[in-house]
């Protein structure tokens, strides 16, 4: 027997209260219940990053997030980024041809939004020579910080260029 629970989430600025099976991932909630199909299901194991969304402003794998555990959270999906016209990263991905099939792209872009905020907050990465110093976002840093997003078309060079263009 399925166990049910009620959750309230703020999704792309809109309060939603839903009764759901406790097993429901945030990704399935978005795609199957709310028809927000921008977030993609790739591996469903947290390995590919296609499902990346922002939970309370931080990037996370929606496939491994149980919706019930995020009661009260603010969720931003690729649809929410585009609310007032395209987000600068979306524009940059188009301008630099940073995709081929496009399946990983919403996850790449949500991940990049979260990643740039992490750099802004001074978080170091594995690519740093000295983790105690403030980060400087070069191409190696971008590749390392984006390693949770797989692109099977291999559009990585232009994904890095798109992110560099926005990071300045």
């Amino acid at each position: 027997m399925a166990e049910l629970a009620t959750v309230t989430l703020c999704i792309n600025g809109e309060q939603r209260t839903l009764e759901l099976d406790t097993r429901t991932s945030l990704l399935d909630l978005l795609r199957e219940r709310l028809r927000l199909t921008g977030s993609k299901k790739g591996c469903d194991h947290g390995q590919c990053g296609a499902c990346t969304v922002l939970i309370d402003g931080r990037r996370a794998n929606a496939c491994l997030a149980l919706a019930v555990a995020h009661d009260g959270a603010e969720i931003t999906t690729i649809e929410g980024l585009a609310a007032g016209g395209l987000h600068p990263l979306q524009t940059a991905f188009v301008a630099t041809d940073a995709f081929q099939c496009g399946y990983c792209t919403p996850g790449q872009i949500c991940s990049a939004v979260g990643m740039l905020a992490e750099v802004e907050a001074g978080w170091p990465s594995h690519a740093a020579a000295d983790v105690a110093r403030a980060p400087e976002l070069d191409a190696d840093e971008i590749r390392e910080r984006m390693s949770g997003n797989i692109c099977r078309c291999g559009a990585y060079p232009n994904i890095v260029r798109a992110i560099q263009a926005v990071a300045g």
């Binding site: 794998n61 555990a69 991940s111 978080w123 590749r143 949770g148």
Partner: protein, 326 residues
């Protein structure tokens, strides 16, 4: 995934009471490993007790100059903490060498310690595995074990512990603080994870109704000069084949203090006491570093396809110590 009841608790006692009430219940942290294992059918808890809203999300300074890391502190926040980056450098490096940016934002300190092995047989419910189903056998001994243990394994299990963070914590004499139904206790991290022996289903010495509330780092000046070096099959987002956390203090060419732990070699983070004993008071040079590595790794019992790990561990340790001594 099997159906489960979801519960949220208000305090530590509520958490340990709730978990004691239902056999097989599990605490839920970030869920990055547990939810995946539930989806694979490896874990089938009837109840999940969400402990992420307990007040254990801070990193506080201790009176003796150490740090108390709350059990719910996310891996990314711990890695970004300026005190960790400056005074426990290898811990920040280990965290940043693990998983992906997304996963580090979700994963908690306690959950990282309690994550399960990534041995392919453990994660595949169609296969026997003594860790998942005690008594069913260990196909890894004769099967695919290139990534598995060379130290401290048993005929029952050759799995490795996957955490990077725990390797640095083992090197730095961290202490795990837990609470149970009748009060709290402190467990040195080096004793927290078990060797498999004849009970590989038990990864740690934690009781079924005990909750991790914090990890304490003692004041440890040598930790400021430390490195975490990880070898893996791709540049990022992969588990370690071999890793080492090392801290070294050299005065007038002589080793005054040293801490070493290996990852990827055993069922637990492997604190290298034998290597440290060789190094203390010895000349800081490649010959001594090699002797120290050999002293630790002479206990290795590699399997058919993973002897490379012994050479790799020696070389990685020697290179890391050379770098720290320079």
């Amino acid at each position: 995934m099997r159906p489960f009841r979801y519960e949220r608790v208000g305090d530590d006692l509520g958490a340990v009471t709730a978990i004691a009430a239902t056999p097989g219940a599990r605490f839920l942290g970030g869920g990055t490993n547990l939810v995946d294992l539930m989806r694979l059918g490896v874990e089938t808890p009837p109840v999940l007790i969400d402990v992420t809203r307990l007040p254990h999300d801070r990193i506080d300074e201790l009176d003796d100059g150490g740090l108390r890391i709350g059990a719910g502190v996310r891996n990314s926040d711990l890695a970004a903490d300026p005190r960790v980056r400056a005074h426990y450098r290898a811990l920040a490096e280990a965290l940043l060498a693990g998983a992906s940016g997304q996963l580090r934002n979700q994963a908690t300190t306690a959950g990282n310690l309690l994550q399960r092995t990534r041995c392919a047989y453990f994660q595949d419910v169609s296969q026997p595995c003594n860790k998942r189903t005690p008594g069913s056998g260990c196909p890894a001994r004769q099967g695919e074990h290139r990534n598995l243990a060379v130290l401290g394994h048993s005929e029952h299990c050759v799995a490795t512990h996957p955490s990077d963070m725990a390797v640095a914590l083992a090197a730095f004499d961290a202490v795990v603080r837990v609470v149970g139904p009748v009060g709290g206790r402190e467990i040195p991290l080096r004793d927290f994870h078990r060797l498999p022996q004849d009970a590989p289903e038990r990864d740690t010495v934690l009781g079924p109704d005990e909750l991790i509330v914090a990890v304490d780092l003692p004041l440890l000046p040598v930790a400021a000069r430390s490195r975490y070096r990880k070898v893996r099959e791709r540049a990022s987002f992969a588990f370690a084949l071999v890793s080492v956390a090392a801290a070294l203090d050299v005065v007038d060419g002589e080793v005054r203090d040293v801490r070493i732990a290996f990852g990827g070699l055993a069922h637990k983070p492997w604190r290298a006491h034998a290597a440290e004993a060789v190094l203390r008071g010895a000349a800081a040079n490649v010959a001594t570093f090699t002797d120290a590595a050999e002293a630790e790794l002479s206990a290795a019992r590699p399997l058919r396809d993973n002897a490379y790990k012994v050479d790799l561990a020696r070389n990685v340790l020697v290179r890391t110590l050379e770098e720290l001594a320079a």
